[in-house]
């Protein structure tokens, strides 16, 4: 049952070789067995899942099906789900039960998906290790050869990525503000795509940094991600930044091949001190694309090195504004105070974790009177230069190939002493968010200790089809079949 990809499970369901109930029961069983160790889920909803599976079987029996009828998924606990607790990984939302459904999850339900539960994440999606969740760390299903020490799954969508890698879900929703889909996908040896800003509605997704946040899927294969994104995406009048554009057939694009495409190699992504294995992986990826008929072109994105510093002004500024709503009055947890200000201050001091507070304070400072121009306005101008870099190179190339992360997964508790060290994880992913572009991470090799390493494919705005075409070509060439130590069906 666990050998199925999302695409082959869908076909088996439609052919009535398996039932949605069997599939969901197997996955719920995997969660019961593995979650105590991996902690990929904050909330499990097995009864709801079974009811949805039975509805899927009833539809399939009548020969009716949507794109995802009977497919069991994990939902990142940042998507509001009607009647099911939604925490954003924070203590402050621990009592929150949304009375509405996010647009992305509503789209998945419309297409017949089954929801297994709510996936763990860094608090308010702020982190690259899943260590900041108020509901405990997530353990990466992969371990190093001969070393059982627990590793991080990456973040912030660490629960989503670990659930898919450990076969505790066939796919999952995730979100990406600075790398939160692509970095955990790379660390867990699976595929994840952040689509173009505006492709998926942000309505009903707990907001972190609104000009950067974008939903996307993680799954086992490029095609599985294409199928999920096709269902998640689409115009939504409830999100003023949602793109009123048709959703192409992403799965069909996976079969296009790369013959005649021009693939750019940004020289600024060759970082000082980068592991030789990452460099070798990158060169191998370029060789595969060349063999498949693509032309490789050296390009320059001169403002790459300023991406992270720009991000750590823009994202905290937007977060400090978005998180002002958590005041202990209208929803969420409340701590007592003698007057209203004390109630606010106590509620927020008790409800937010250290990293979230740090970012709120940075954001408050860079937006405060007298500092706005020096920090926030400056960052918005550098952001314009980062976008211009990409716009310039996309006149000459169809897609870019880069490493997804500067290292493989690291140990739980590492890189925790200094916030800036943790931030450096996202050096290859952040510029893509700053420019609003689509980016996909996929596993193409293992490092010397047996951990997965990933490459990133970056495309033009609203050209996810080329991203899928290039990624699928890499996937076919890489033939990545390695599996994590901890997984269902092992």
């Amino acid at each position: 049952m666990f050998e199925y990809t999302l695409a082959t499970a869908r076909d088996a369901l439609r052919a009535r070789k398996i039932s949605a109930r069997e599939l969901t029961t197997a996955y719920s069983g995997a969660i019961s067995a593995l979650n105590p160790e991996i902690n990929a889920y904050i909330t499990e909803t097995p009864e709801l899942a079974l009811a949805q599976a039975d509805a899927a079987d009833a539809a399939l029996a009548k020969g009716e099906h949507g794109a995802l009828t009977g497919i069991p998924l994990a939902i990142k606990d940042l998507f509001c789900t009607k009647g099911v607790r939604t925490t954003a990984g924070s203590k402050i939302l621990s009592p929150f039960i949304p009375p509405y459904e996010s647009t992305v999850t509503a789209n998945l339900l419309r297409d017949g998906a089954v929801f297994l539960g709510k996936a763990n994440l860094d608090e308010f999606a702020m982190g690259s290790s899943n260590m900041t969740s108020a509901y405990g760390a997530v353990t990466n299903p992969w371990t190093r050869h001969g070393d059982n020490r627990p590793l991080v799954p990456g973040g912030s969508s660490g629960g989503s990525a670990a659930a898919v890698a450990a076969r505790m879900a066939l796919g999952a929703t995730a979100t990406d503000t600075g790398g939160s889909i692509r970095q955990p996908a790379a660390f867990c040896g699976i595929v994840g795509i952040k689509p173009t800003y505006g492709r998926c509605s942000r309505w009903g997704v707990v907001a972190f940094a609104s000009s950067l946040d974008q939903a996307g899927p993680v799954a086992r294969t490029v095609e599985d991600c294409a199928i999920l994104l096709g269902s998640m995406a689409g115009f939504d009048p409830k999100d003023s930044t949602s793109a009123d554009m048709p959703v192409p057939d992403f799965a069909a694009a996976c079969k296009r091949g790369v013959k005649g495409l021009r693939i750019g190699v940004p020289r600024e992504y060759r970082m000082e001190g980068m592991a030789p294995e990452i460099e070798a992986l990158w060169q191998q990826g370029l060789a595969w694309l060349r063999d498949a008929g693509a032309t490789i072109v050296d390009v320059s994105l001169p403002h790459t090195k300023y991406g992270l510093a720009t991000y750590y002004i823009v994202a905290p500024a937007e977060a400090s504004s978005n998180l002002a709503r958590y005041d202990g009055v209208r929803y969420g947890a409340r701590s007592a105070g003698h007057d209203l200000t004390e109630l606010y201050e106590n509620t927020r001091a008790d409800g937010f974790g250290a990293e979230v507070k740090r970012r709120i304070m940075i954001g408050t400072y860079v937006l405060s009177a007298g500092y706005y121009d020096a920090y926030y306005l400056k960052a918005q101008k550098v952001r314009a230069l980062i976008l211009k870099d990409f716009t310039d190179v996309f006149r000459d190339v169809d897609a870019l190939l880069t490493p997804a992360t500067p290292t493989a997964a690291f140990g739980q508790g590492e890189k925790m002493d200094d916030p800036v060290t943790m931030y450096l994880n996202d050096v290859f992913t952040v510029p893509v968010n700053m420019a609003g572009l689509p980016g996909l991470a996929l596993p193409t090799g293992l490092d010397a200790t047996g951990l997965p390493l990933g490459l990133q494919v970056i495309g033009r705005p609203f050209d996810e089809e080329t991203v899928f075409a290039v990624s699928a070509a890499l996937e076919r060439a890489a033939g990545f079949t390695a599996l994590p130590t901890h997984r269902a069906g092992a």
């Binding site: 003023s240 510093a309 002004i313 740090r358 408050t364």
Partner: protein, 95 residues
């Protein structure tokens, strides 16, 4: 630019975060490390560059000026930490 303890307290107050005296030094160190690292942007020449305000590479859409939702007081209040009938309750604000 470097923050002193008074600035840390002022920012915490603006952000409505209670900060205990014992935490001020640690927070000051962390925030200054981040701000010091961010200062690398000073080397970028942004003369004549228009700021990029949003992620959407398109103009903001206008919508019809009509009511799209409403009359759901019970759903809105369903997550209130404390309430009194159809009202949220807070500590006394006006003496």
């Amino acid at each position: 630019m470097s923050l002193d303890p008074a600035a840390v307290r002022r920012i915490a107050r603006l952000a409505r975060l209670r900060v205990d005296d014992a935490q001020v030094t640690q927070i000051q160190g962390e925030l200054n490390a981040i701000l010091g690292w961010i200062d690398q942007l000073n080397e970028v020449d942004v003369t004549g560059v228009e700021p990029l305000t949003g992620g959407a590479l398109m103009a903001m859409r206008m919508r019809e000026d009509v009511v799209t939702d409403g009359a759901q007081a019970e759903a809105v209040l369903s997550n209130a930490p404390e309430r009194d009938g159809p009202f949220y309750t807070v500590p006394k604000v006006v003496e």
